[in-house]
């Protein structure tokens, strides 16, 4: 029907971004040497400030009163300041540090300076605000504030790779009605030209290094990653977690701006299995690296949440089916495992399955429900599945609530749930007891962490193997264009049902462990949206924020979505609001999620002439019936 291409508007937008037209310009006009000097002075002042006292009472958490020894948030400023200095020296061409700026851009310096500035000013303002006034600041605090400001100004004066100048005749349809208002257009244009731009700068191929160096880099990266993660998980109070988040976000952004991240992904692509092994070892080392049950508990919950998100990723990310009630499958698995766990509150309290049998039971129960839900709805296209799964999710919770012997048969004890679920015992190794491994004592949560890690690895294997196979390709084909996929011989219903059932049973598997970790199962967490994970909305957000169709994306998304409500207590009432806002912002500015799919590997293959996001005859939103017209 649509014989006329509708891409004319798109075309105009695409032509403006030519990689050849590079623009290098500072934000603050200063001679280059002056800018460099100011930057370095800022770095030195910042670092020096962290050794001073910032406030004279110990009321502010983290004890910032000690002179000569940085503590609490000062450590973050110090680390960020040192990183800024190193990257600055690298970008200025200092021998020995040049590898820090493989793309010869100053953008990373600016981003790190921004991070240093933000975290320091946040600290200073927090001190003043929490203790009641600027009077509570010691001179060190002022030095830090001024030093980071100087640093930022110096960095802003460096030559920054920027987005090319906008075409003077460009039209901005995305502004809607405002696109005819000259002031709005000028402002928008100015904002667009403000953006740094570094993604297409060439970097040397890292795989030319000797093999052992490449492996060493991957190993070190895994160790640093573990260290940073452990530090972040173990942050004890809100302020330092926020400061940590600021530093990490800007540091990662800077790594990508310097081209190091791109080189690193080239390395991991070249040594895929080695990198995977190192990642696994780092995760394995986590309970040994810190010896606190509380943080091991955090780790288990993140792994459970991440595994479920990975299962959902098969359904949403690979196959493109919107499942709004996915958490119910976690619930089905958890309840099934609880019923066969030997808990005195189970209706079969005499029955106690060994773990492998309980896990299979949980998976099978979820699988059955998955097929029951999927079979009637997956034949239809469009939004039916979303609505039915949303309904199923709620029905599950309500039914489980009602099977209490009063409103219905006694199966689940209603809102009281099934409690006193005994700890698992695997090959005589009771996960509830502490065990000494060398000099380290592994507590209950550490045991469960290790078990869950094993399950996560299995799920990752299932995900990657399924994704890269005939069946996985047909899932993606269906996501991309269901009509074309069926015309290529794919039985859409069958293939979608397999994805749906597989996703459900993986959630069921995670549910069996979760039942034992928490000792009890109750209906309340298995809802569509809530302030704390797991709930279907959070799971979906973990997949979408992290990066659909990737392995690490949903796990990272799950970790963030689990940690942020856990660590930022003050959000409490505003949490859903903040969560919604974050979702909107990410969808606007980074729709592919934190970890984009595929392109990473392809970056090294594709030549310069690539035209991003161009579809000549876009009609993938054509309604079902007009297939191929």
């Amino acid at each position: 029907m649509t014989d006329i291409p509708v891409a004319a508007a798109e075309t105009a937008a695409v032509t403006t971004a030519k990689p050849s037209a590079r623009r290098i310009a500072p934000f603050v006009p200063l001679p280059l040497t002056a800018a460099r000097a100011v930057t370095l002075i800022g770095v030195v002042a910042t670092i020096a400030a962290t050794f001073m006292s910032w406030t004279y009472t110990t009321d502010f958490p983290g004890d910032l009163t000690v002179t000569g020894y940085p503590g609490g948030l000062q450590v973050l400023t110090l680390v960020s300041g040192i990183l800024t200095g190193l990257f600055a020296l690298g970008a200025f061409g200092l021998k020995g540090l040049r590898w820090l700026a493989p793309n010869h851009s100053h953008n990373a310096v600016l981003l790190l300076a921004l991070g240093t500035f933000a975290t320091t000013w946040y600290t200073v303002i927090a001190i003043a605000q929490e203790l009641g006034g600027l009077a509570n600041l010691d001179p060190g605090g002022f030095v830090a504030a001024v030093g980071t400001l100087v640093l930022l100004i110096g960095a802003l004066a460096l030559p920054i790779h920027r987005h090319p100048q906008e075409d003077p005749n460009a039209e901005y349809f995305e502004l809607g009605r405002l696109s005819t208002v000259p002031v709005a257009v000028a402002g928008y244009k100015w904002l667009r030209e403000l953006r740094p731009h570094h993604t297409d700068l060439p970097v040397p191929d890292p795989t030319r290094l000797p093999g052992w160096v490449q492996r060493l880099i991957i190993t070190l990266a895994a160790a640093v990653g573990l260290e940073v993660l452990t530090y972040g998980l173990a942050t004890g109070y809100t302020e330092i977690f926020l400061g940590f988040l600021i530093v990490v976000v800007f540091a990662i952004w800077a790594l990508s701006a310097s081209g190091l991240l791109r080189q690193f992904s080239g390395l991991t692509a070249a040594h895929r299995s080695f990198a995977n092994t190192m990642g696994f070892l780092a995760a394995l080392a986590y309970p040994f690296a810190q010896n606190d049950e509380h943080y091991a508990n955090l780790g288990v919950n993140i792994l459970i949440f991440g595994t479920v998100a990975l299962g959902l990723n098969i359904v949403v990310g690979l196959t493109g089916l919107l499942d709004l009630g996915y958490v119910a499958f976690l619930g089905v698995g958890a309840y099934a495992a609880a019923l066969v766990s030997g808990s005195p509150f189970s209706i079969w309290s005499g029955v106690q399955f060994p773990f492998w049998a309980a896990a299979l039971t949980g998976m099978a129960a979820s699988l059955v429900f998955g097929v029951l839900i999927g079979a009637p709805t997956l034949r239809l296209r469009g939004d039916y599945l979303a609505i039915v799964t949303l309904g199923f999710g709620e029905i599950f919770r309500i039914v489980v609530n009602s099977l209490d012997g009063v409103s219905g048969p006694k199966v689940t004890n209603g809102p009281n749930g099934i409690s006193q679920i005994p700890d698992l015992s695997i090959f005589g190794y009771n996960l509830g007891d502490s065990h000494d491994v060398g000099s380290v004592t592994l507590g209950r949560f550490a045991n469960y962490y290790l078990l869950m890690l094993l399950i996560t690895v299995i799920v990752v294997l299932i995900f990657t193997r399924a994704a890269d196979s005939r069946i996985g390709r047909s899932w993606v084909a269906i996501r991309e264009d269901e009509t074309a996929a069926t015309a290529m011989g794919i039985n859409g219903f069958r293939v979608k049902l397999i994805a749906f059932a597989l996703g459900a049973s993986l959630a069921g598997l995670a549910g069996t462990v979760s039942a034992h970790v928490t000792y009890n199962v109750v209906p309340s967490p298995y809802q569509f949206a809530g302030a704390a994970p797991p709930n279907s909305a959070f799971l979906l957000a973990a997949v979408v924020l992290g990066g659909m169709g990737t392995v690490s994306g949903p796990i990272l998304g799950a970790a963030l979505l689990y940690l942020i409500p856990e660590k930022l207590g003050f959000l409490q009432r505003y949490e859903l609001f903040a969560f919604g806002l974050a979702l909107v912002l990410i969808m606007r500015f980074r729709p592919e999620g934190i970890i984009p799919n595929r392109r990473r590997q392809l970056e090294f293959h594709e030549d310069e002439t690539l035209v991003p996001g161009k579809r000549p005859l876009g009609d993938d939103t054509v309604p079902v019936s007009s297939a191929g017209a």
Partner: protein, 323 residues
């Protein structure tokens, strides 16, 4: 061009000249609108058959009826003597593959993956074998990749196997759609306006490609507006106007038929969509070439111009972007 060694002895089953596809009495109604009226069409093996007609004549709808995307209101379609169920995947399984008028690639998959999806019906590996990854799985996967690369080689896209398909230039996207269809090892290939938006050289190359496909024993049914393309290529041409088959026969017969000329000149048929922009006429002339049949050329100009012109514009922009 390299040749593809076919796994299945498809051409042997139906001897040259025997009927491969038989559509009889196909009617497709959308509410009050009858888009296809009682059309019979036969494609014999080893043949290239053309399907032409003004915009909105029902050609694409007819294709959709053949491939099971639409369930025809009446009539049957049989392939190698067996009635095709109106399910797209079963039709492809049986050996009829198609391309789309509006390119429908899997845009976020690589070129190679697109072709591998085309191999879906010719491979068996399910979820379990993908998870276990035994030797049989590896063998089948390697075989699939080998075949897919052969096809890409044949089409001329082997060097772009790792590119995302949406980053390909327009002409290559069209080629990739054909490659993907060929990967299903069809006995009959349906092409819906394969040269829409192409420049003369690309059109010429596509012509060669269609001949090469036929030479492998795959029959081809092709919808096209470019008359020169159709009359060069086809053993037989059927003309569809307002859902009805007006004429069918060799190129000469069709070119001489007055009703065809009238239809293409835009005689006042009711609801015939002929007013799609005269500006594109010049563009289209480039596509025809000077030595095109005078009558047919004049007759088709307005219609084909509208289509090819718009598409050519688009292709032009595409090439600009690529530089």
């Amino acid at each position: 061009m390299t040749t593809i060694t076919k796994e299945q002895p498809t051409p042997a089953q139906a001897p040259d000249g025997g009927p491969l596809l038989q559509a009889s009495g196909v009617i497709m109604r959308f509410g009050g609108l009858t888009a296809v009226r009682d059309v019979d069409l036969t494609v014999n093996s080893g043949e290239i058959v053309g399907l032409i007609g003004p915009n909105g004549a029902g050609k694409t709808t007819f294709f959709n009826c053949l491939t099971g995307l639409y369930v025809p209101t009446e009539g049957t379609v049989s392939y190698r003597g067996e009635i095709l169920p109106p399910k797209p995947h079963l039709v492809t399984q049986a050996g009829v593959a198609r391309t789309f008028q509006n390119i429908r690639l899997f845009s976020n998959m690589t070129v190679l993956e697109n072709v591998l999806v085309g191999r879906h019906t010719r491979t068996r590996e399910g979820l379990l074998s993908a998870l276990i990854r035994g030797p049989r799985y590896h063998k089948a996967e390697a075989r699939s990749r080998e075949r897919a690369m052969e096809i890409l080689e044949f089409i001329g896209l082997a060097d772009k196997a790792d590119h995302l398909s949406r980053n390909l230039p327009y002409g290559e996207q069209r080629k990739l759609e054909i490659a993907r269809a060929l990967a299903s090892e069809p006995g009959l290939l349906l092409l819906d306006e394969p040269t829409a938006g192409m420049n003369p050289q690309e059109t010429r190359a596509t012509e060669e490609l269609v001949f090469a496909i036929r030479d492998q024993g795959i029959a081809v049914l092709v919808i096209e507006h470019d008359m020169r393309f159709i009359f060069n290529l086809c053993d037989r041409v059927a003309v569809l106007v307002q859902g009805e088959k007006l004429v069918e026969g060799t190129s000469d017969i069709v070119q001489q038929d007055e009703r065809v000329i009238a239809a293409y000149l835009g005689e006042p048929f009711e609801g015939a969509p002929a007013d799609e922009g005269d500006a594109a006429v010049e563009q289209a002339e480039a596509g025809f070439g000077a030595e095109a049949e005078a009558e047919a050329g004049a007759g088709t100009r307005a219609e084909a111009g509208a289509d090819a012109g718009i598409a050519a514009d688009d292709a032009g922009e595409e090439q600009e972007n690529d530089r």
